[in-house]
Structures are given as structure tokens and as C-alpha cells.
């Protein structure tokens, strides 16, 4: 028996013991300690036969002051919009089954003038000889703090959404406006080379090419940065999508590169999952483009995309929450691979394992992949073997959670 099960049994045993003893001391002490307002209402007497003293704290009135409010103090203290529901509950309890808990939330005006949020729970207490409900028990909790926290959370979320929208449009404008001069630098450099063609010294031609290359790199960087910022600020609408179709679309887009390298892509039937379509497309495009780019010289790239079972160890790493099930998709290549010690680093922004001369790139692609998996509440892991190849494991939740 596990420790958890042991403790649970111990608690149950204690509960039963106390219930059997019906120790008045226990009851009294518990009542004293509970912050709730506890009340027993008797229908035949049309009055409360028990109310604990917390009622005075809840509303801020003394016993006399409440009595002064008249025979129906609730009409004075409860928010007019909530009265109807409260009264409905107080009648509905007559038809309730034994053990059935009714709940009602309402606003109560404290003596100081502030509205508080209360949550009352009702239970049938006693029945008369005819079986009709005679008395019911109510326990009321002040949930004002929780309600306030929720309101703040909602308003912060709205603020965040507004900021993200503003950032998205700023990013788009910024990247658009930044691309403009770059386009011209590149074009006019080319025009210089064309105009002077025969007359240009090789060293000058070289300089112009270097200008062009730097500009191309900057254009790439801006595009990738825009991509990266988009993955955090776009509206998250999950759609049930056939991943096989997405990958086919991506390989279609990369056909030219693939033909150039004589690349082959093998794909198992991939699952249908709730995903952010545009982002998942970007994800596979980045991974496959990488596999093509980092291929071994003289070796045609071979890419395998498949679904695999998740081991117990991986399950635990994902959080071992039996409510959440994951699907594991593998993207395997036979390229140059990498040292396993860099397996986490490669997902860092602007981090590259190779110099610009060896392989082009901005160091943003895998950071985008990681962001995308996080947006899906999933995970990405990489395993590499230098000279052999790499595998990227994508863990997607089967179900979208809030």
C-alpha cells in the first residue's frame, strides 16, 4: 500500500471514530474554528433555530441590529439582483433529496457599505413524519477575495490580449518598413554591378557582393523575427487537423530544395490532432528545411516522419497526469547530427552550432519550433549523433486544455 493510500485510510478512520463518539467537544471546537456562517432553518417555525456567531462578522451587524432590520433582513442585506435566485434556492431545498447539495452565490452588503460575495451551500437536515423537509442546514463562505482575484485576472488577460494585438501589428509594420530600405540596398548594389560590369575591378565586385550578402542576411533575420513574434501573439484557434496533409503541403513547398538535394521523405500515417494550423505548418517546415540544410555531403538526405509510443519514462517527464494523453511524432534525418550536450541549447534564440560560412541561418528556426510546441502545451526534444543524424521528438497533447 502506498503512503498516500495509507494516509487516506487513516483520515477516514478518524472521521468515523469522531462521528461515532459524537463528541460535543469536537463539534463545539469545530464550530468555533470554522470561518463560515452556519445556519439551520426550520420551515415549520419559519425561522432559523441555529445561527453561529460568524453571521455578525459576515454582515458587520450586531445581533440587535439584525433584529432591528425586521422579519426579513435578507431583503435589506442581499443585492436586489441576487434576491430572486436566493429565494428560489430556499424553496428548492424543499424538493431536494437527502445528501443533495444546493449552491447559491449572491452579494451581501456589509454594514460599512461594501458589497461582499457569498457562497451558500444547503443540505436537507430533518424531515417531518410525512417525509417533507422540515429543517435545512446552510453553510456560507465569504468568497469576496476569490471574486476580486478573478476580476483582476480577467482584466489582466484582456490587457495582455490588447498588448499582444498591438505588438503583432507593430511587428508587422516594423518588419515591413525595415525590409524596404534593404530591398533597395540590394537592388542598387546589383544595378551598380550590372552597369559597370566590364569596368569593375574584381575587388570592387567582391565588396558589392558582400554588401548584397549582408543585406540578404538581414532580410532573412527580419522575416524570421516576424515569424517568431507571430508565434506568441496570434489568436490561438485550435482546429482538428490531419497532420499527414500538413506535412505533404510542406514537402510540396520545399520541392525545389528537395529535388536539388535528391532528398527522400518517408511518412507514416500521422494522427489527426487539435492544432494551430499555421504554426504547425511552420514547425514542420523548419524541421524539414533543417534536415535538408544540415545533410551530410555526398549523401542524399533521408527524412522519416513517424508516430511512436510513449515510454513510461517519457510519460513521467511529461508530467504523468493521467488526464492528459500525448502523441509522439518523430522527425528523423540522416544528416550531420550534433553533440548531445547541445540538445537543449539548439532551441535557444540566436544560438547556432555552426559558423555562417559553413551553413546559412539565423539561429531562430528551432526557437520558433520550441515556441510553437509550448503554444500547444506540448514539448520538443532533440537527440543527435554527430556524423549519423538527428531525431526531433514532438509531444502533442491529444486534447486541447484551457
Amino acid at each position: 500500500m502506498s503512503k498516500k493510500q495509507n494516509i487516506a485510510l487513516h483520515v477516514l478512520a478518524l472521521e468515523q471514530e469522531m462521528a461515532q463518539e459524537q463528541s460535543p467537544e469536537f463539534n463545539r471546537k469545530v464550530l468555533e474554528l470554522l470561518p463560515n456562517v452556519i445556519c439551520i432553518h426550520d420551515f415549520s417555525k419559519a425561522d432559523n433555530i441555529f445561527v453561529n456567531r460568524n453571521i455578525f462578522q459576515a454582515a458587520g451587524y450586531s445581533a440587535q441590529e439584525i433584529a432591528d432590520l425586521g422579519p426579513e433582513p435578507e431583503k435589506e442585506l442581499i443585492h436586489p439582483e441576487d434576491l430572486a435566485e436566493l429565494e428560489w434556492n430556499l424553496e428548492a431545498i424543499r424538493d431536494a433529496r437527502d445528501g443533495e447539495v444546493l449552491e447559491c452565490a449572491y452579494r451581501l452588503r456589509h454594514k460599512c457599505g461594501q458589497w461582499t460575495n457569498q457562497l451558500s451551500r444547503y443540505l436537507v437536515f430533518t424531515r417531518d413524519n410525512a417525509g417533507k423537509v422540515q429543517q435545512f442546514l446552510s453553510v456560507t463562505t465569504d468568497v469576496s477575495e476569490i471574486c476580486k482575484a478573478n476580476e483582476i485576472l480577467a482584466s489582466k488577460n484582456q490587457e495582455l490580449e490588447d498588448n499582444n494585438a498591438a505588438l503583432a501589428s507593430f511587428s508587422y509594420m516594423a518588419s515591413h518598413d525595415l525590409q524596404e530600405p534593404l530591398r533597395k540596398i540590394r537592388t542598387f548594389s546589383k544595378l551598380i554591378m550590372q552597369t559597370e560590369n566590364k569596368g569593375l575591378q574584381p575587388v570592387v565586385k567582391n565588396y558589392l557582393n558582400r554588401i548584397s550578402d549582408s543585406t540578404a542576411r538581414m532580410q532573412s533575420l527580419i522575416d524570421d523575427l516576424l515569424s517568431y513574434s507571430k508565434t506568441s501573439s496570434e489568436e490561438l484557434v485550435f482546429e482538428l487537423t490531419d497532420l499527414t496533409a500538413i506535412v505533404r503541403e510542406v514537402t510540396g513547398n520545399l520541392q525545389e530544395s528537395m529535388d536539388e538535394k535528391r532528398a527522400v521523405v518517408h511518412m507514416d500515417k500521422l494522427p489527426v490532432l487539435p492544432v494551430l494550423v499555421v504554426q504547425v505548418r511552420q514547425l514542420f517546415e523548419n524541421l524539414i528545411a533543417n534536415a535538408l540544410k544540415y545533410s551530410r555531403p555526398m549523401t542524399a538526405p533521408e527524412i522519416h516522419i513517424s508516430t511512436e509510443d510513449i515510454s513510461a519514462r517519457e510519460s513521467r517527464a511529461l508530467g504523468d497526469n493521467t488526464n492528459k494523453r500525448y502523441v509522439k511524432i518523430c522527425v528523423r534525418d540522416n544528416g550531420i547530427g550534433f553533440e548531445q550536450e547541445y540538445a537543449d541549447k539548439i532551441f535557444d534564440l540566436f544560438t547556432r552550432l555552426h559558423g555562417r560560412e559553413e551553413y546559412a541561418g539565423t539561429g531562430i528556426g528551432l526557437a520558433i519550433c520550441k515556441k510553437i510546441m509550448l503554444n500547444h502545451k506540448g514539448m520538443i526534444k532533440a537527440v543527435g549523433q554527430p556524423g549519423c543524424g538527428s531525431v526531433f521528438y514532438l509531444y502533442f497533447p491529444c486534447v486541447v486544455s484551457e
Partner: protein, 144 residues
């Protein structure tokens, strides 16, 4: 239009883009006549005054005073000018703009390429198209 010398009008407020376009057109089809206008207002004024209407108009979108779409509308509302095919020539390539161009009667949409050689290639392709047919049949060739 293949092989024939045609007259082209570019309406674009950006001096650099006008120069780049003219250079590309010179390279791709030196026999063509290439005119430019620095604004929608200037372009329309020129078209109303001239006897030699262009065979093809390239129209920028993001211009001060008169936006490209407004200019396009005015071109298509004018009986004398509405038969001239218009190719939108813009840095924007987002769907709403591409669709709006279609709705307002443009014949095609060319997104300003980031490389000069690509621009030459695109212009070469455009000059091979038969715009008389697209105008007759109210066709929209979309993003080129």
C-alpha cells in the same frame, strides 16, 4: 503584345522604386516606352491630357494624397481609361489587398520583389501576357 513596342506608365510616389522599375524595364524590353508619374493625381492629370494612352499601367498602392485603390477606382470609372489593363505594383502582398485589387478591376497584382533579378523575371512574364483578353473577359490574374 509579344514583340510589339508598347507604352507603359508607372504611378509610384517612391523615387527609388521609379528608378529601379525603369532600369528593369530598360533591361527587359528596351524598345518599350516607359513613363512615370509621381502620384495618383499626377498620373490622372497626365492621362486626361495626353493623346498617347499607355498600353499598360503599373500602380503603386501606398501613396500619399490619393491611395492606389482610389486611383484605380477613378481609372475604371473613366470611359476613356477603363480599358487600359492595370497591374498593382506594391510592397504589400497581404490577401485583403490582393482581393481588393480584383474587386476594383485590376488585371493582376505584382508584389515588389526583394531582388532586382526577380523583378526583371516578373516583368518579362507580365509582358508575355495577353492583356487585351483579360480586359475583354474581366479576368483577374491574381498575384504574379
Amino acid at each position: 503584345m509579344e514583340g510589339k513596342e508598347i507604352r507603359i506608365l508607372l504611378i509610384d510616389d517612391d523615387e527609388d522604386d521609379r528608378e529601379i522599375f525603369t532600369a528593369a524595364m530598360q533591361e527587359v524590353a528596351p524598345a518599350n516606352t516607359c513613363e512615370t508619374a509621381i502620384s495618383g493625381k499626377e498620373g490622372l492629370r497626365h492621362l486626361m491630357a495626353t493623346n498617347q494612352l499607355p498600353d499598360l499601367i503599373f500602380l503603386d498602392l501606398n501613396m500619399p494624397l490619393i491611395h492606389g485603390f482610389e486611383c484605380l477606382k477613378m481609372l475604371k470609372e473613366n470611359d476613356r481609361l477603363k480599358e487600359i489593363p492595370v497591374v498593382i505594383y506594391s510592397t504589400s502582398n497581404n490577401q485583403p489587398d490582393v482581393q481588393r485589387a480584383a474587386a476594383l478591376g485590376a488585371s493582376a497584382y505584382l508584389s515588389k520583389p526583394s531582388q532586382y533579378t526577380h523583378l526583371c523575371e516578373k516583368l518579362r512574364n507580365i509582358l508575355l501576357l495577353d492583356f487585351r483578353q483579360t480586359i475583354r473577359q474581366h479576368q483577374y490574374l491574381g498575384l504574379i
